[in-house]
């Protein structure tokens, strides 16, 4: 099973996990990213490169499927204006081997951080805005998977 969705709408975590559980692998790992409401943040605006996003995320998912014995992978990434507490991203993996499920889940979220064409703009209560800067740490983490 391979599912990649790039969407504005929220998603149903229980349904996504149930689909992965139903594959019969025995182990389902997931990661959910949520908007943090720190420092007076009132919204996070996610811009993306539509012509590229689906293809690029698909490529990352194929890489995970090639590296680990997975029965299923789901990746959902939202775009648009998201308020604190809203979900941004979901990565779920199913495998007969819990280590494969957990490692591939970590791999996928690391790569989403450095290879998925999204940009985040923070909107604060006082009207200020700021583009989130990429963290060198994230690029290094993604590179770490190459070794």
């Amino acid at each position: 099973m391979k599912r990649v969705a790039i969407q504005a709408a929220d998603f149903d975590v229980a349904a996504e996990l149930a689909a992965l559980e139903a594959l019969g692998g025995g182990g389902v790992a997931s990661f959910i990213g949520v908007v943090r409401g720190e420092g007076g943040l009132i919204a996070l605006e996610l811009e993306h490169y539509p012509a590229m996003t689906q293809v690029q995320v698909d490529r990352i998912v194929e890489e995970a499927l090639a590296r680990w014995p997975l029965l299923g992978v789901s990746v959902i990434h939202r775009f648009g204006r998201l308020v604190p507490g809203a979900r941004i991203v979901f990565v779920g993996t199913a495998s007969r081997h819990r280590t494969a499920a957990l490692e591939s889940c970590a791999f996928l979220i690391d790569w989403m951080k450095s290879e998925a064409p999204f940009w985040k703009k923070e909107h604060f209560g006082d009207g200020a805005t700021q583009w989130v800067e990429a963290r060198a740490e994230d690029e290094l983490k993604a590179k770490g998977w190459k070794s």
Partner: protein
């Protein structure tokens, strides 16, 4: 050959004030960095957005590439800051 489409994202898009434009196709051996330098020379928002190539990342026809990659016969070049997905 057809013009080249350039697309901009995030603060690159904001500084330039547009999300897409068409330009006369540069020589096939020209790199993305050459294109960036040509655009930055327009001054104003272009200089602001593209004046420091170290802050930029690029894609050719929806694939990430280093800035020294030749544009060749690509249809679309994208210029943007390092991504912050996930």
């Amino acid at each position: 050959m057809a013009d080249l489409t350039i697309v901009y994202f995030a603060w690159v898009r904001e500084a330039i004030g547009r999300d897409e434009e068409r330009v006369a196709r540069p020589a096939p051996t020209a790199s993305v960095a050459d294109l960036v330098a040509t655009l930055a020379a327009r001054g104003g928002g272009y200089a602001e957005a593209l004046g420091d190539p170290a802050r930029l990342r690029a894609a050719i026809d929806q694939r990430f590439v280093p800035l020294d990659t030749p544009i060749g016969d690509a249809r679309e070049v994208a210029l943007f800051p390092p991504v912050t997905g996930g």
